[in-house]
Amino acid sequence: MAIDEIYTQVITEHSRDKRNRRHIDHATRTQKGVNPSCGDEIELELREENGVITDAAFTGSGCAISQASASMMADLIRGKTLDEAESICATFLGMIKGDVTDAEQLEVLDEALALQGVSHMPARVKCATLSWHTLKTALGE
């Protein structure tokens, strides 16, 4: 894959998308994450009711890859149980590491599959995984 092919329409659009970029009223979990190499920052907010993530959103700033990844993640985990979110998170991190390559297994990632190419861009791995590591910390609480 050529490096600039990572900047697909899905990614550039998500990086600018405002839908998931907001605060959540009565968030039950908030978690900050930073990527010192780019200076990417996000603050993830989740509202959880009876073990289900009823809303997910974030604020922050950074490169397109970090911001798109956060936006896609919010879409993916909204409406999922905590366990489901944890499993999606593990699949995403596995994809970026290059450990998970099975198409069927990756299906749950939907649009976030567009970030698979980052597994060949070591310098940008931290950008793509920032929001997911932040989620992992938030869920681990």
Partner: protein
């Protein structure tokens, strides 16, 4: 004519394809490539000498000692200082840490101040934070003009006072690129009796330096930013200061007498060079100086200045590009120019340019307080930097590809 010669042919690492394109290396401020003659000098040292300098009494060791000390003499002459005032280190960071540990910790007391410009590289900033924390001194910042990068006389006089014991500053900021008014800084520091520390990491390969004439007390640089390998650098210190300072690394070959309970140290520079040194690196550094001298400062400076003018003027002419600091193409700029592309994070710009074979730096450039102070979008910037091997084609390639980046990121005109 010599100044239209393509020096890139001398640098094997520049002769490669990246992502299917000719490599255009515009990150020499991070580290510059090495000419074949420098690589050969390192290989020759290890192929023919290779013994431990200052240790053996046999012929090979004597040759290694001579090679190492001749290199010291070559570097000292390059900087217009004496050989016993030059300590070999790994890099500018280590050099600045020596000043911090061996000079500042002993010299500072509560109520004293250390003064640095806000534009300093972390290597010339974090050691001073630590020195302040450990001694009770304060660390104060000189705020540069956000547009020109200059420091006003008023700012100098307000911050550098009779309480000031150390003034440390880069000759050229690795972000702002324009020459600092260091003569003014040095004069003000001297007027209040403060010691001066010059970080010449970004000028060492771009202009002749006469450290005795500048009359600074300490100066730090890295070899890898002047066409030499990584892992060799230097610290200049005035003889009388070095004589007073206690080394911060102890070990072999830096001692005079060692008894069971106490030790006397060798004179400078040996007392600061504990353990086996990077002799191959020192020899290669001397070869890098030979390479620079063979071209000559007149040619080198004129060539780099013309290229820089072309680059800055070109960036000014691009829609959506903002040059950081002084955007005047005729400003005395050495090596680097930082800029941002509207709406796009510098790391995305750098990734996309990489797909065209262009290597630029992106991010905070180890100068986070400056990024904050300048209130840059995303607290980051792109940075292109030039060295003697860059050409008009390199500059034009950047100027031609940069306008494609916003399109790739999905922005219309």
């Amino acid at each position: 004519m010599a100044n239209t010669k393509n020096f890139a042919a001398d640098f094997p690492a520049l002769n490669q394809q990246v992502n299917g394109n000719r490599l255009v290396y515009l990150d020499s401020a991070a580290t510059s490539m090495r000419p074949q003659s420098v690589l050969d000098a390192a290989v020759d040292f290890y192929s023919t000498k290779g013994a431990n300098p200052h240790r053996g009494v046999y012929k090979m060791a004597e040759e290694a000692t001579a090679a190492y000390e001749n290199s010291r003499a070559a570097v000292a002459s390059y900087l217009s200082i004496d050989t016993d005032e030059l300590i070999f280190t790994r890099n500018a960071s280590e050099s600045l840490n020596i000043v911090m540990y061996s000079y500042a910790l002993d010299a500072l007391k509560p109520g004293d101040s250390i003064v640095i410009p806000v534009s300093e590289h972390h290597s010339n900033l974090v050691p001073w934070q630590r020195a302040a924390a450990r001694t009770g001194a304060t660390l104060e910042y000189l705020y540069v003009d956000r547009v020109t990068g200059a420091i006003s006389d008023d700012e100098l006089e307000r911050k550098i006072t009779s309480k000031t014991k150390i003034v440390a500053f880069a000759h050229v900021s690795n972000v702002l690129g324009v020459l600092f008014p260091i003569e003014k800084l040095i004069a003000r520091a001297k007027a209040v009796g403060a010691v001066t520390v010059l970080d010449c990491a970004q000028t060492i390969a771009h202009m002749p330096l006469d450290l005795h004439a500048l009359d600074v007390d300490f100066a730090a640089f890295s070899g890898h930013k002047m066409y030499a390998p990584m892992g060799i650098g230097g610290l200049y210190g005035k003889r009388e200061l070095l004589a007073r300072m206690e080394p911060f690394l102890f070990g072999g070959d830096m001692i005079e007498y060692v008894r069971e309970q106490d030790t006397t140290f060798a004179p400078a520079p040996q007392k600061f060079e504990a353990g086996t040194q990077n002799a191959g690196g020192a020899v290669a550094l001397a070869a890098a100086i030979d390479y620079i001298k063979a071209i000559g400062w007149d040619i080198l400076e004129a060539r780099e200045a013309a290229l820089m003018r072309r680059l800055v003027a070109g960036l000014n002419g691009l829609k959506d590009v903002t040059v950081i600091g002084d955007s005047n193409p005729d400003a005395p700029r050495y090596g680097v120019v930082a800029f941002n592309l509207r709406d796009v994070h510098s790391h995305d710009v750098a990734s996309i340019l990489d797909s065209y074979g262009i290597a630029i730096r992106a991010g905070q450039h180890c100068a986070a307080p400056l990024m904050d102070y300048l209130q840059l979008p995303f607290k980051s910037s792109c940075r292109a930097s030039l060295a003697l091997y860059n050409t008009e084609e390199d500059v034009d390639r950047l100027l031609e590809c940069l306008p494609l980046v916003r399109g790739k990121m999905g922005y219309g005109d």
